[in-house]
């Protein structure tokens, strides 16, 4: 079971502001889903290897060569918050 404090903590980890009222709402709905997830505990998996993805390919490399990329002004075109060719954001702390 997760608590109100857990919801606040994961909200911070995920950088999503959660209001006091929403904390309770999310806690209830998240707990009902986590309870369902708990059914996996009954399945023994000690000797089973995890599957991260199913494609039978590993270590896809390419030559380290410079290729054509999007022009800087095109990349910056989707925001008004820019300066001198950079994205502009508020200070971190």
């Amino acid at each position: 079971m997760i608590t109100k404090e857990d919801v606040e903590h994961i909200g911070w980890l995920a950088r999503i502001e959660v209001s006091e009222q929403e904390t309770v709402e999310y806690m209830d709905k998240l707990n009902s889903v986590l309870e369902y997830f708990g059914q996996l505990d009954e399945l023994p998996t000690e000797d089973v290897a995890p599957t991260y993805h199913v494609a039978e390919i590993f270590n896809v490399f390419r030559e380290d060569v410079v290729e054509e990329s999007l022009p800087q002004e095109v990349v910056l075109a989707n925001t008004e918050h820019k300066q001198d060719g950079y994205f502009r954001v508020p200070k971190i702390g």
């Binding site: 997760i2 857990d6 919801v7 994961i10 909200g11 911070w12 980890l13 995920a14 950088r15 999503i16 502001e17 959660v18 999310y26 709905k29 998240l30 009902s32 889903v33 986590l34 369902y36 997830f37 059914q39 996996l40 505990d41 399945l43 998996t45 089973v48 290897a49 995890p50 599957t51 991260y52 993805h53 199913v54 494609a55 390919i57 896809v60 390419r62 999007l70 095109v74 990349v75 075109a77 989707n78 925001t79 918050h81 994205f87 954001v89 508020p90 200070k91 971190i92 702390g93």
Partner: protein, 475 residues
């Protein structure tokens, strides 16, 4: 002009009249739509198609219009993902599949509605409102590619692209009475589709018939170095369209006919299996004991991957942005206001499943269960050529019926999400009706054995008439 046309018929019409007339006729139908299937109708479609008429094009889809799910990037058209957080964002590049379609001469009609970031089975969580099911406007079209399936069913586009992470092509195909394919993982490049859960999702086609699915696959499938999981299978999809299932061995996994299945769905699927038998195929029951754990495993993996993928939406480079006294406050407010409730729930659960102390209990456990599910498929498909089951255990539900209880909605993916865990191909084809609502038959095959899956789907279609039925409410 006929409302529901196959790609071959569209091409004939273009020959008879012009590509512009055909596209204009689709735009007119879209203009009168009752289903809210499109988020954006392209204002460049007519301009694009006139160019094809005037300059000519020798591509296989010259002048043929198509609808695209609004999480697949098309340069110059908004890519909303059904979310407020991408407000104002215009992608500066196109997805691999779009490059391929444009090179083939296709005309993009517009971008279709979806559950926000493809997270849902009903297309109700879109910031742009729900899409209605053309067969009953009070019901959901399924999801998350509900817009793509609904516009194809309503005759607003001859075919469409969707994406399938846990059933998002097949579920709406089943609910809307159209055909939808989830290709083998790696068959179609994911470059340019906004990632929800990378290890599970594939772009897939939706159409009114199996032939058009193969036509689209011949164009969009193939190797792309920009997707490191891309594999060149060299399959010729249209060559699979053979009306013959003699000596084909079908497995019927009893775990896909679980508690809560609608009796008419069960009957329609068994009738289909007997149809195959009458056409010369054989069938046997098979058991896949770990399927019952697939749904929990799927959701843990999907949410975990989502919590990482959606970290990029922070208001700094594109889309909706709130202000805040520092970076953390700005980002936290932007994400709280920009994402809808279901997306936030999945990010929070995914973050929790990956967090210190819970990683092994949830995420690692789910990955191990994934191995067992994958083994179930490998064992079953070693004995038989195909597996057949219902796509959805029930027909389309009412708009608003399940939206308040996330878990109830998740449970509707029970028959579709195991396929994504295993990465195998799976198609949904129309196989009957219950109270005027379509039922979907799910045909699953071995990895990269789309030819057998398509052959079985094509043979079924050639010997039944379910795919010729049209929704009366939008006729």
């Amino acid at each position: 002009m006929a409302k529901w046309m196959s790609v071959a018929q569209v091409k004939e019409k273009i020959e008879e009249s012009s590509a512009e007339e055909v596209t204009a006729s689709y735009l007119e139908i879209i203009g009168k739509s009752k289903i809210n299937g499109f988020i954006t109708v392209s204002d460049k479609a007519l301009e694009d198609v006139r160019k094809i008429d005037s300059e000519g094009h020798d591509g296989p889809l010259a002048g043929v219009p198509i609808a695209i799910k609004d999480n697949i990037s098309v340069v110059g058209l908004p890519n909303t993902c059904g979310s407020k957080i991408l407000e104002g964002y215009i992608p500066p590049f196109s997805a691999h599949v779009i490059e391929k379609l444009l090179a083939a001469g296709a005309v993009i009609l517009g971008k279709t509605n979806l559950d926000e970031f493809a997270m849902g089975s009903s297309t109700e969580t879109s910031h742009f409102g729900p899409t209605a099911n053309p067969w009953d406007l009070e019901r959901v079209p399924g999801g998350s590619s509900g817009g793509s399936a609904a516009v194809v069913a309503a005759g607003e586009a001859p075919f469409a692209l969707g994406s399938d992470t846990g059933g998002s092509v097949r579920c709406p195909a089943a609910f809307c009475g159209v055909v939808g394919l989830k290709p083998t993982y790696g068959a179609v490049s994911r470059y340019g589709v906004v990632a929800y859960a990378n290890s599970l999702e594939q772009i897939g086609p939706l159409a009114n018939n199996v032939t058009d699915i193969a036509v689209l696959m011949d164009i969009i499938a193939g190797y792309d170095r920009r997707d490191s999981t891309s594999i060149d299978s060299k399959i010729e999809y249209q060559k699979s369209l053979v009306d013959n299932v003699k000596s084909l061995k079908i497995g019927v996994p009893k775990e896909f006919f679980g508690e809560g299945i609608h009796p008419d769905v069960e009957k329609a699927v068994w009738d289909s299996i007997h149809k195959y038998e009458s056409l010369g195929a054989s069938w046997e029951e098979v058991s896949m004991p770990n399927i019952r754990y697939a749904l929990a495993s799927y959701y843990i993996i999907a949410m975990s991957e989502a919590s990482s993928n959606l970290a990029r939406f922070d208001g700094t480079r594109y889309g909706f942005k709130e202000s805040g006294e520092n970076w953390h406050a700005m980002v936290s407010k932007t994400r709280a206001d920009g994402f809808g409730k279901e997306v936030i729930r999945r990010i929070l659960l995914g973050t929790y499943a990956l967090s210190a102390g819970y990683h092994n209990k949830y995420y690692l456990k789910a990955l191990k269960v994934r191995t067992l599910v994958k083994q179930d498929f490998a064992k079953a498909l070693a004995k038989v050529d195909l597996l057949i089951a219902p796509t959805m255990p029930n027909p389309a539900f009412k708009i608003g019926e399940k939206i308040e209880d996330p878990l109830t909605l998740y449970l509707s993916d029970v028959n579709t999400c195991p396929i994504n865990l295993a990465g195998v191909p799976s198609i949904s084809v129309p196989c009957g009706f219950t109270d005027g609502l379509p039922i979907g038959l799910q045909i699953m095959g071995k990895p990269f054995d789309e030819p057998t899956v398509l052959r079985a789907a094509y043979t079924f279609e050639q010997n039944t008439d379910y795919h010729t039925k049209r929704p009366p409410e939008v006729a």
